[in-house]
Symmetry: C2
Subunit: 229 residues, 2 copies
């Protein structure tokens, strides 16, 4: 029966099926806890046949992670239309969708661990961070970012990761609240930098000028002023 299935699927088709099955299992539980036997069983094939397509669990894990990385990077794509705050909020919604779908696997990967700290997995994580960074700069219409803007954008990306990880650990705060919060956090970190540096101040004023009075950035400024008074 195994051979029958094998004959019906081509090599690449079978590889893609195995990656999909593995990604689903790696998403639901820590990858350390998923065995090749389970993957074989979920794919309806024998254990030796899995090894025929992937030399070991790590290579299957890396292939699954590559697919997940491409999926996540794809969710950052957002048309360059309308207010920036609203665009960022839509991306945050899709980011939390992804985190929600891959919860335990995302946690295990980002917290590091014996099976997942390889050079290849770190390179994939960095490639997703870089994709996020490039997207944000293109929305800000900045080609050659000053060091302080690069710091704000990259450190905010790491803040989004840690916020998602903390959310996954118990889900004690509604994710919709955190999606808005991260948009506000971006504005807040940019504002802190702009408060100290003139170049950042000019840049931020240019961005805020185009934001609508009912957008998330304007909302934050109003709330902060009321909090401070």
């Amino acid at each position: 029966m195994t051979i029958g299935v094998r004959r019906r699927m081509g090599v690449e088709e079978r590889r893609q099926q195995l990656i999909g099955v593995a990604l689903e299992l790696f998403s639901q539980r820590s990858p350390d806890d998923v065995s090749i036997d389970e993957i074989a069983s979920a794919a309806g094939i024998s254990r030796p046949l899995v090894y025929h397509y992937f030399p070991g669990k790590l290579s299957l894990y890396e292939a699954a992670l590559k697919r997940a990385s491409e999926d996540l990077a794809g969710r950052f794509a957002e048309p360059r239309e309308g207010p920036l705050g609203a665009r960022l909020l839509r991306v945050m919604r899709r980011f939390f969708d992804f985190v929600d779908e891959h919860g335990p696997g995302f946690s295990a990967l980002m917290r590091g661990g014996p099976a997942v700290g390889s050079t290849a997995t770190n390179a994939l994580i960095d490639s997703v961070r870089q994709a996020a960074y490039v997207q944000i700069l293109s929305h800000l219409r900045v080609e050659d970012p000053p060091a302080r803007l690069e710091l704000v954008v990259r450190s905010w990306i790491s803040l989004a990761e840690s916020t998602a990880l903390i959310w996954l650990d118990g889900r004690r705060i509604p994710r919709g609240e955190l999606e808005v919060q991260l948009v506000h956090d971006f504005a807040a970190l940019a504002a802190v930098s702009a408060a100290q540096d003139e170049e950042m101040g000019t840049l931020l004023r240019g961005i805020l000028k185009e934001e609508p009075a009912d957008g998330p950035f304007a909302d934050l400024v109003t709330r902060l002023i009321s909090l401070a008074s």
Copy 2:
């Protein structure tokens, strides 16, 4: 001569010396690039003698990392006196001192890598994060933090890590500016959360009430209001 030195030092003394020598080398270059031969040579002993005290490079690396972790956690200790903003700024100075002293090793560790992603090293990193978290809560005089405060504190700790890592990559921004910026970032992230949640609002107002008019928190609010107007 090697035996002569060996006779003069006790086992624990020799272990501590090797840890110190290794930590210095692991701090100056990525731990992957440091060999046992180099450690032996810097300690003035033979390679087999190093293996007599530590079974391999990983165990020596873990011992060096343990010492560095305790050193860093010790720098978080700050007397509960005077305004909070000034206390946090002093801790940030000591944090950047540490990052400065251990630059390449700190980067390699926090960015992950084949030799450094072990369960033991991850546990040490987590223990330092936890020490920072406990210190901050104790300064805020909060024993049982609501989920939103825990999120603000823990995500700010990860922001401090990523800010330090980005600073190390080229040192294009003066560290003194980033020390102040991280204090402001803490206030800003707390303010964003407080702007959405009443419990956080009450907590933050209580903290800000005790801050002096010339402290870093008051400074930030003044700058933000001028930026928004």
